[in-house]
Amino acid sequence: MRRVAVVVFPGSNCDADALAAASAAGSEAYFVWHRDTALRQADVVILPGGFSYGDYLRSGAIARFAPVMAAVAAHARAGGPVLGICNGFQILCEAGLLPGALMGNAGLRFLSRPVRVRVEQPATPFTHLYEAGEELVVPVAHGDGRYVADPRTLAELEANAQVVWRYAGENPNGSANGIAGVANGLRNVVGIMPHPERRNAAVLGGDDGARVFLSMEARNATQHAAHVGDARGLGGGRVPGA
């Protein structure tokens, strides 16, 4: 049984769903408050969806400085699995634990509906029970879901197979390369814009998201310590003229 820490920020609103999905997959899931500084021997950390700190300034920009984030970064840098869902994905990008950033949807509207996504990379702690190329139906609920990164970073993501999920058919928010989820270089840190925790049982309209949590629970891989560093601007560099 894996110990799964679900981090709760002020404004998180998918924390209970994430906890329920992890518990349903057989994990020992518990909440960790954003002011906590310890993850209490977590095997896996989930940053759930929501609107942490009201999305003030930018989605995830303030949450990345929450006291708990030092422990999350240390866990990630030691090779520990971290999953960021929606707002959690935005926080991981702002924290430099994942490359790129998420901007306002191209259509300017908040999107709340099921979308189709394709599993591109099963070799992560959160997708290894899926087949490469498998298409899933999972809901999105976001205003800032347009994934962007500079051209060099995008090319590196594709070359290193760090794109974990891609929108299939339509690209609902204008994300670069239709990216719905990415991993860091070691693939232990994963972010996804759609909400697998809202599709983990037939009663919720489908269980396409359940294997994200079952993968996490079934994972027996050894953890490799490695330095990951700031992944935000792989090909970025300083702001010109600033």
């Binding site: 920009a61 790129g100 901007m103 347009r146 962007v148 204008g174 600033a242």
Partner: protein, 74 residues
């Protein structure tokens, strides 16, 4: 301000609205944020240096935004 080259749907929406109002000379609109900070500092140079640190650490995201900084002595 959104970095050049990135899609700015908000700017486009404002641009279309200006065109609809008859301001056909508008070629491009970018929508960004304007933050005003009151700080205490021994000199304008030190205020600018500190503000630049604030921009780099929190106020701007280097992936998506460019920023300009201006110090006024009050």
């Amino acid at each position: 301000m959104p970095r050049g080259g990135l899609l700015d749907p908000q700017g486009q929406a404002v641009e279309h609205a200006l065109h609809a109002l008859g301001f056909g000379e508008v070629r491009q609109v970018h929508v960004g944020k304007h933050l005003v900070l009151r700080v205490e500092a021994p000199s304008p140079e030190e205020a600018a240096a500190r503000a630049r640190l604030m921009c780099d650490r929190l106020l701007a995201n280097p992936v998506t935004e460019d920023y300009h900084l201006q110090v006024e002595v009050g």
